[in-house]
């Protein structure tokens, strides 16, 4: 089954073609929040 993602997170992940498995979730039970995706994107940008 797909991991439990909120609608806004799903959209961001689609838009940037990300693998949810590579994003550290800070929500309840390790859930990926929108702010986690934004942080992940910022870090990826900083590295490149």
């Amino acid at each position: 089954d797909d991991p439990a993602l909120s609608p806004a997170v799903r959209k961001l992940i689609n838009e940037h073609d990300l693998d949810p498995g590579e994003i550290q979730g800070s929500g309840k039970g390790g859930r990926i929040l929108k702010e986690d995706v934004v942080k992940h994107l910022d870090e990826a940008e900083a590295e490149s």
Binding site: A4, K11, N14, E15
Partner: protein, 482 residues
């Protein structure tokens, strides 16, 4: 012919098309919306089927007829006595028409505010993303579009053996406009539309007979909900006959009646009605939508082929709403309109087709989202069930409205909520919290650990979640009843 260029040309101004057009304009796209709807007086109106002859007028009449019946039959229980309750049908219809008028003008206002250009007439897709527009005044014009969104909608299916004559045999549109209450009303098709219209006229005094060809009532609903609802609606006085296949109809103008012949397991029967409503389904309104050498793939019913993002077989041409696959629901079309607009603007939007809520606005209402129990069984998915009846809800008791229940289905191992099914007063509102739960991939424990206001009907959702986990508070847990 003068050519005008647009980023987006939308054909159809119903819930899919007008919402798509507004979203396009919000995103800075130069947008035109072509719509051909005219009311019986010939006035152009946006909003499509939903606003003009669908969702809104039917809900207006459901609400009014419910108040009428409630005042007549149920106020006494509350210790409220009133004199004779009179029906002013013309007044009821006029209110409905005012409402439709206001809302369609509201969309006109929104178009203006967002700078969507409204073209009144027919739109036809031609090659190279050109759209031929023919105004109601006969004038023709070609619009050049970078993107085209087709949202032509749907119309009622006619019965081969009972074509609409717009007087005795009518579609849902005609059934929203009767000038007097039919003494005896026949409804062919006991689906969502048939049940809602049948309920309106039964409450206003019609003797309603519903003929349904299928052997199961509301076969697309959770079985437990469908069974409960058949019991309640039959008790209310809707004469619902299943496995009844209509084979012939005949209008007798002298008697002002229509006779209907149908077959069931006991043979052939004939019934006479003052009016007959045919609600056997709707089909895409794609006739005449394209012309010339365009390769827009459609099936034999006229449904336009699209992928999950509503892209057709033609690059830059999208199709949404009732003319494409999926449930024929206003909110489904609107969400597709938003998705397409956003994708044109370069965003990664999508529609979650697994969490589209469904509502039947009878009383009690029926609402559901996600998967039902018989489907989970068929697919061999292990699940847990939690049911909470409104008879155990303090708020429902105070409202003197305790029919129905909330039923949650959750995965037996992960506890993730797979479906929610509600039959009750205001089920249409209660389902929203279940839709959100499904959207966020919630488990029943998430709902169980959420605070719900007391006393409210929404507590039944909370209790159903607790029941799924095996420890409801206000009913005995499963297996410990009595």
């Amino acid at each position: 012919m003068a050519e005008q260029e647009y980023d987006v040309v939308v054909i159809g101004g119903g819930p899919a098309g007008y919402v798509g057009a507004i979203r396009c304009a919000q995103l800075g796209l130069k947008t035109a919306c072509i719509d051909r709807w005219q009311d019986p007086e010939g006035k152009e109106r946006l909003g499509g089927t939903c606003l003009n002859v669908g969702c809104i007028p039917s809900k207006a009449l459901l609400e009014s007829s419910e108040l009428y019946e409630h005042t007549q039959k149920h106020l006494g229980t509350h210790g409220v006595r009133c004199g004779e309750v009179e029906l002013d049908l013309a007044g009821m219809m006029a209110r409905k028409d005012r409402l439709v008028n206001n809302l369609t003008q509201g969309i006109q206002g929104l178009f203006k505010a967002n700078q969507v250009e409204w073209f009144k007439g027919h739109g036809q897709l031609q090659a190279e993303r050109q759209v031929k527009f023919t105004g109601h005044d006969g004038k023709e014009q070609t619009l050049q579009a970078k993107n085209v969104i087709l949202a032509p909608g749907s119309f009622p299916v006619e019965l081969g053996c009972g074509p609409f004559d717009r007087e005795y045999i009518v579609s849902s549109t005609g059934a929203l406009r009767f000038e007097e209450v039919p003494k005896r009303l026949g409804v062919i098709g006991a689906g969502v539309i048939g049940l809602e219209l049948g309920s309106v006229w039964r409450r206003l005094g019609s003797e309603v007979v519903m003929l349904e060809a299928q052997d199961r009532f509301l076969s697309f609903c959770d079985e437990q909900v469908a069974n409960e609802s058949l019991k309640i609606m039959s008790k209310q006085g809707l004469d619902i006959r299943l496995s009844a296949r209509v084979t012939a109809t005949k209008v007798d103008k002298d008697k002002g009646q229509v006779s209907v012949v149908y077959e069931d397991e006991n043979g052939q029967h004939e019934e006479r009605f003052d009016r007959l409503v045919v609600c056997v389904g709707r089909r895409p309104a794609t006739d005449g939508l394209v012309s010339g050498p365009v390769e827009l793939a459609m099936d034999e019913r006229g449904t336009i082929h699209v992928n999950e993002h509503c892209e057709t077989t033609m690059p830059g041409v999208y199709a949404i709403g009732d003319a494409v696959r999926g449930p024929m629901l206003a909110h489904k079309g609107s969400e597709e309109g938003i998705m397409v607009a956003e994708r044109i603007a370069g965003m990664g939007s999508s529609v979650n087709y697994d969490t589209i809520p469904n509502v039947i606005y009878t009383l009690p209402e029926i609402a559901w989202v996600g998967r039902n129990e018989q489907d989970l069984k068929k697919q061999g998915v292990p699940y847990a069930t939690g049911v909470f009846p409104f008879v155990a809800s303090g708020r429902a008791r105070a409202m003197e409205d305790t029919t129905g229940f909330v039923k949650l289905l959750a995965h037996a191992e992960t506890d993730r909520i797979l479906g929610a099914h509600i039959i009750s007063s205001r089920a249409s509102e209660l389902i929203a919290e279940c839709v959100i739960a499904l959207e966020f991939g919630a488990c029943s424990e998430d709902l169980a650990r959420t605070v719900f206001a007391h006393p409210t009907l929404s507590e039944a959702v909370h209790e159903a979640a607790l029941a799924t986990l095996g420890h409801p508070l206000h009913i005995p847990p499963k297996g410990k009843r009595g």
